[in-house]
Subunit: 199 residues, 2 copies
């Protein structure tokens, strides 16, 4: 999957620039895994990526952009894996739940990283709208595809349902990360929501 990068088209970058950006993203992920949103400090990212602070800001105009980009990338990777190994289940609801459960497990494996990415996503303002939309589109697409077989064309209603599920998904993930719900509660609540939405 080709990921559109912040402001610049991938093909317009030299190899060393692609290298630099990868180092930056990797550094951000490493720090996020260890310390969550607060653990990603721009000076540390720059140092780890072996890049000057100013350069870091040339590639990503803010911490939020950087972390939303990380989310974008990892969401894309995850959905790629899911497409190669599609959600299982007899009914549309079961497949959607399988998708959400697997995604939840991915996040649970690195809760601090999830914290960093989600806080950035939620805090993003208009200047990051397009990146946020991109993440949203990936997720909505995956949900839509899981609802029916890959053959049938999704209806307008399918899309509406998928978008509701997607938003509930983010909301519940956030409530888990901010300590208002356990992981168990989240999966249970998601199951209830999907049951209501996917008849």
């Amino acid at each position: 999957m080709a990921i559109a990068e912040t402001g610049t088209i991938d093909s317009e970058l030299t190899d060393s620039q692609r290298e630099r950006r990868k180092r930056i993203v990797d550094a951000a992920i490493t720090l996020a895994v260890e310390g969550g949103y607060d653990g990603v400090q721009m000076r540390d990212v720059a140092e780890r990526a072996d890049v000057a602070l100013g350069t870091l800001y040339r590639y990503f105009p803010s911490k939020v952009h950087l972390l939303v980009n990380v989310l974008h990338q990892l969401t894309g990777d995850m959905v790629d894996r899911l497409d190669r190994n599609p959600p299982k289940g007899q009914t549309a609801g079961a497949r959607v739940l399988d998708l959400l459960d697997r995604s939840m497990r991915v996040l649970q494996r690195e809760p601090q990283l999830a914290d960093a990415m989600m806080r950035a996503l939620m805090f993003a303002d208009a200047s990051a709208a397009s990146e946020v939309d991109a993440v949203s589109a990936i997720m909505t697409g995956a949900i839509t595809r899981s609802m029916h077989g890959p053959d049938r064309e999704p209806t307008h209603e399918d899309h509406a349902i998928a978008r509701v599920i997607e938003n509930v998904w983010w909301a519940y993930i956030l409530s888990w990360l901010s300590g208002r719900a356990s992981a168990r509660q989240v999966t249970d609540d998601l199951e209830a929501a999907v049951r209501l939405l996917v008849r």
Copy 2:
């Protein structure tokens, strides 16, 4: 409606302390109306409220706590008004939509204030979980009450539906505030979501 305050019970405060807290909240609202989340600067809040910075932090342990408290208070006020003048509509779905439309109009009247409160709500971490829960409970309650008449006891399913609607509500509000959707789109999307959820 009595609002539980951050950490301290209302009745344990002297009059002058109640006064101070009110001045702080009012100052925060004024600044938020003008400049949104970024416009609420703690030094300015303190100055406007005629209170030392340290005192501000004694009353509200962080900017997020302060703004979530504002949201708590204003949400409570709005729901009080709604309870005195309940949502109209023949069906449960119509009443819920009336509730959400009216709430949306309140937010649209002061979009910058909405921005400040919502960013705080979304950015809140575990230390503000109880305040966030309180806001959530007010909203879920209002939605539940609007679904059936005030007489019938809400079922378990009613609550599940109300919680899904509530989360979709916040998500759509956020997408409006961060410029990813127009107010019109939000009301349309909410209508679609409610139609799906309230049969």
